[in-house]
């Protein structure tokens, strides 16, 4: 399991507390703030063009891949230039955001849904910058909003994310089955959810997407309280989605709960790994840069053109 503590020491990262981002009303501004800052901290350009259609030369900037320097032009001009290609047909990049009611929970930091929206916005902005076709789907027990991936859908994606509100009870199987029908062209799918289902059910739900040839990245969003169960006072605990209440003495159940959630995460990681699904657990107090690192690492692995 990858924890926030293990990843926040990533080199070159500039971390912004999600609670600070929550004060920025404009989602696109949030995304740009995070992504631009993130990119500026990297030593090499994260943009990886897949198209071979030459577009233009531009002056070499520190961080550019030196393999893209046009040596011939250097021989003539004694200056470094890199070649830029027309990236009109990059990958389809779709965000699948769980907006079930359990995602409204937030005790330690911002609500999980807000964190998911920020993360989705950042990823969408990042992908749009490298000219991927960006799409979005939100769901609870069914598909709530669906924006098909397209080059010009970035603004729609942002707008849709912006007005997203927590829905009803969550269920992965049904909406993902529907969405699998929509993603006929292979692309990159990013699932953002709290995954409150049995690991096998999660695996089965995402397998349909994976079987279509999509590359799947799963971000498991949890509040820190869901991981550590720090409650002290005995109380009735109410399920946000079902409304069920049970009496709980936190001191008595804490250890067992932590054990169960750890087992749950480990099982998800194992099952999804077996299906070559990239799984990342993130708690809402983790800076968004951590998620971007995880995504970037996955994209590097998925990219064939270097």
């Amino acid at each position: 399991m990858r924890t926030a503590a293990a990843t926040t020491s990533a080199p070159g990262a500039r971390f912004i507390d999600p609670r600070v981002l929550a004060r920025i009303a404009n989602l696109e501004l949030v995304a740009r703030t995070v992504v631009e800052g993130f990119i500026n901290g990297l030593h090499r350009s994260p943009y990886l063009g897949l198209s071979l259609d030459f577009a233009e030369h531009r002056a070499y900037m520190p961080g550019d891949d030196i393999r893209r320097i046009d040596w011939r032009l250097y021989a003539r001009t004694d200056r470094f230039y890199v070649k830029q290609f027309e990236a009109d047909t990059n990958a389809n990049f779709s965000l699948l955001v769980d907006v079930s009611k359990s995602m409204a929970y937030g005790r330690e930091g911002i609500p999980k849904l807000d964190y998911a929206r920020f993360l989705a916005a950042c990823l969408a902005y990042f992908s749009q910058k490298q000219r991927d076709r960006v799409g979005l789907a939100t769901f609870d027990s069914d598909v709530v909003d669906y924006v098909p991936p397209a080059a010009g859908h970035f603004d729609i994606v942002m707008h849709t994310l912006d007005r997203t509100r927590p829905g009803g009870a969550g269920n992965l199987r049904r909406p993902l089955e529907k969405l699998a029908e929509n993603y006929r062209r292979r692309g990159i799918l990013v699932l953002v959810s709290d995954l409150y289902e049995e690991p096998v059910a999660v695996r089965d739900a995402v397998r349909r997407l994976r079987n279509r040839g999509n590359d799947l990245i799963v971000f498991h969003i949890l509040d820190r309280a869901e991981l550590e169960f720090p409650f002290q006072d005995a109380a009735n605990f109410e399920d946000l989605e079902s409304g069920t209440r049970i009496p709980v003495i936190p001191d008595h159940v804490r250890a067992r709960y932590r054990e169960l959630i750890a087992n749950h995460v480990a099982e998800l990681q194992r099952l999804l790994g077996e299906d070559r699904v990239d799984y990342t657990l993130i708690d809402t107090s983790t800076p968004l840069d951590q998620a971007l690192f995880s995504y970037l690492a996955t994209r590097e692995r998925l990219t064939r053109v270097r």
Binding site: D194, Q232, A234, E238, L260
Partner: protein, 719 residues
């Protein structure tokens, strides 16, 4: 080894409050509102058990909270280390002076028993090396013992003591305590004052300061008393002569101080042990009234009387004693010259024939008929314009004066200077000469010694104008020096002079006391002036029906000046020195007492002897009747003195103990401070000095601060 004790152990029941945080910590706090949680899929897999709910959480917080409650309970219980008296926190032996009030107000219901208990408690607090002195006080102060470690003897003295008849004075005991402690070389010295704190005992004027560093602990035995008191403040007598006997009407003044009215209070008059009359009166709250009894005929000889009124918590002042004797007239012999006119002494006789305090028994006699027998038994002889009698009469007159009789000489036409030569000259203040005529309108009395008893009654404004009298002729009297001259004319001549001869008095009036040489007999001041002359010459002192406890009777006799009351003594008490019975107007028994030893029988039955080689003075210490007899004459009729209580003591108004303590303690009280111990003195004083409760409260505050910090930390951790 001092043991830990508690002044208010009932507060230790508060330790039970320690159970409250224990129960709260055992009981898991359940929030009334539900806690929202994203999914219960994991919690539902955990079995719900209640048996573990009895486990105590947050041990440090629980212990701190229990500690706070325990400290508070202990502080309110006021702990102290008992076992070594008030000064347990100090080292070394101490000297303790216990001042125990035994004025008669301490006889008020329950006060004396409380005072004895307080004194014994103070003695119980003494350590093995401590010393104590016991001082009883009322109007004066007496040390029952010096500083001693004999606690048993002191305790016995406390047990044996009873309230006396004196009033309360705080100056003498404090002064005595100061002397005792100043003589002490110990560092720890203390004074315990056990009294009912009557305001009459302290007027703030006494300049008594205990030595620096000596604390004064006050024990108020009257605290909480519902004071109501009935007292007889005095009895007055109206005497009338009826058929040669005296009838006396007695009027008693009764004062009542209390909240509720009193109905049907019996007031009785007894005379010689026989109840003459009983009346019933109603008294309103805080009121006074006079009760007049029916007249009674005064028997011959002394009569002992008592007026009593009701009963209350302070009985002594409900009785009032007195002694009455038939009034004795002042015997005056007027001697005229042999050839005098028939009405020569008309004015003088008429003036002395008026008045009953005292009545004057006047006899006029010609000089030739004067004999020693005629002079014997006279109080005053008046030589009214007559020469000094010759022969045996003259010697008898001289002896009369020397033995204390009075002589008044008026100088007129027939006062032959030659007759006053020889032994007779001893009687005159100085030689006198031929008559001198004044101016056309005569001379006036210009200079009077108004401090002299004769003129004292004329001292006040409009109390007698002597300047209206004109003196047309007088005989100049040559007096050596100014001493003895009581009045002068406006031309400087002597008008009245006095000379003491032996135990008697001689008064010389240099003109006549009729209308021959002066018109003074026609002036309003004539009658009182003549009365004053005769009273003074006779040495008359009005008989006192009673004395007040604390007064001292001077029975030495002989010195006429001793009859004047004197106030004040070393201890600040008010003792009136009264010379009893030496006056001619007094009943006869005292002269019969003679000059030897006297046996005194006190009201309490104690017999003592005064006189002889001891001063012949009697201090009146008890209420009731004192009997005095010459030693060896047990069968003789006694001379009786009635003694009543100091009426000021009946005023039970209270003084703030702090006021007295602040006034009596030195400005720098040293390590100790004044204190009021309601009824105990000992343990409360120890607790007050140690003040352990303050430290416990400080600890409780510190623990409270720690509890706040701990609770905040736990609360943050709990979210």
């Amino acid at each position: 080894m001092p043991a830990l004790a508690f002044l208010a152990p009932a507060f230790l029941a508060g330790l039970a409050a320690v159970l409250i945080p224990v129960i709260l910590h055992l009981r898991h706090r359940e929030r009334s509102e539900a806690v929202a949680f994203p999914s219960l899929m994991f919690l539902q897999q955990i079995p719900y058990r209640t048996v573990k709910r009895q486990r105590i959480r947050h041990w440090p917080l629980l212990l701190v909270r229990c500690l706070i409650l325990a400290l508070l309970a202990a502080a309110f219980a006021r702990p102290f280390f008992a076992g070594a008296g008030p000064g347990i926190v100090e080292d070394g032996a101490r000297d303790l002076v216990i001042l125990l009030d035994r004025s008669y107000s301490m006889g008020y219901a329950g006060r004396w028993a409380r005072a004895q208990d307080a004194a014994k408690r103070a003695l119980e607090g003494m350590g093995p090396d401590d010393r104590a002195a016991l001082v009883f006080f009322s109007t004066g102060a007496t040390a029952a013992s010096g500083l001693t470690g004999d606690v048993a003897a002191l305790r016995a003295a406390v047990d044996a003591a009873q309230p006396g008849a004196g009033g309360t004075r705080y100056g003498p005991p404090l002064e005595l305590a100061r002397r005792l402690l100043e003589a002490s070389d110990r560092a720890r010295r203390e004074v315990v004052l056990i009294t009912d704190f009557q305001r009459v005992g302290w007027d703030g004027q006494q300049d008594v300061r205990l030595p620096a560093g000596v604390p004064l602990t006050t024990v108020d035995v009257a605290e909480g008393d519902d004071v109501s008191n009935l007292s007889i403040t005095g009895v007055s007598f109206d005497r009338q002569a009826v058929g040669g006997r005296e009838r006396v009407t007695a009027t008693a003044r009764i004062a009542y101080k209390g909240a509720g009215s009193m109905r049907g209070v019996p007031v009785r008059l007894e005379l010689n042990g026989i109840e003459l009359q009983a009346l019933s009166v109603d008294l309103e709250p805080n009121s006074a009234r006079a009760v007049t009894f029916d007249p009674f005929t005064l028997p011959e000889g002394e009569s002992r009387g008592t007026v009593s009124a009701g009963t209350d918590a302070l009985p002594p002042d409900n009785r009032f004693h007195f002694v009455l004797s038939p009034g004795q007239a002042v015997s005056v012999l007027i001697v005229e010259t042999d050839g005098a006119a028939a009405q020569r002494s008309l004015y003088l006789r008429r003036a002395l024939g008026i008045g009953d305090r005292p009545p004057f028994r006047v006899e006029v006699m010609r000089r030739g008929a004067l004999s020693p027998d005629a002079i014997a038994g006279r109080d005053v002889v008046v030589l009214n314009d007559a020469p000094f009698p010759a022969g045996a009469a003259g010697r008898a007159l001289l002896d009369h004066v020397r033995r204390g009789g009075g002589l008044i000489i008026t100088l007129g036409e027939r006062s032959a200077p030659s007759s006053w030569e020889g032994d007779a000259a001893e009687l005159l203040p100085g030689p006198f000469g031929a008559p001198v005529d004044g101016a056309a309108r005569g001379v006036a009395l210009a200079s009077l010694d108004r401090s002299h008893p004769i003129f004292e009654v004329f001292r006040a404004p409009r109390s007698g104008d002597f300047t209206t009298a004109r003196v047309y002729r007088y005989r100049p009297l040559q007096v050596g020096g100014a001493d003895g001259v009581l009045a002068r004319y406006d031309d400087g001549g002597v008008a009245l002079a006095e000379k003491r001869v032996g135990r008697g008095r001689v008064l010389v009036w240099t003109s006549t006391l009729d209308n021959f040489w002066t018109d003074i007999a026609l002036q309003p001041i004539y009658l009182p002036f003549v009365h004053q002359l005769v009273r003074h010459a006779a040495g008359y002192v009005e008989a006192r029906p009673w004395f007040t406890a604390g007064q001292v009777l001077d029975l030495s006799g002989g010195d006429a000046d001793a009859a004047a009351p004197q106030a004040g003594d070393e201890a600040g008490t008010h003792r009136a020195m009264a010379k009893a019975g030496q006056a001619a107007g007094e009943p006869a028994p005292l002269p019969a007492l003679g000059g030897g030893e006297l046996v005194v029988l006190s009201p309490g039955g104690a017999r003592s002897t005064i006189g002889g080689d001891r001063p012949r003075v009697l201090e009146l210490q008890e209420q009731g009747f004192y009997e005095l007899r010459p030693a060896g004459r047990a069968a003789a009729a006694p001379y009786t003195v009635a003694v009543n209580l100091d009426l000021a003591e009946s005023d039970l108004s209270r003084l703030d103990p702090q006021e007295l303590a602040a006034a009596a303690m030195a400005a720098d009280p040293g390590p100790a401070a004044p204190a009021t111990a309601a009824a105990a003195g000992g343990v409360e004083e120890q607790e007050r000095r140690q003040a352990l409760w303050r430290y416990l409260l400080i600890l409780a505050l510190l623990a409270l601060a720690a509890e706040i910090a701990l609770a905040n930390r736990v609360s943050r951790a709990a979210g």
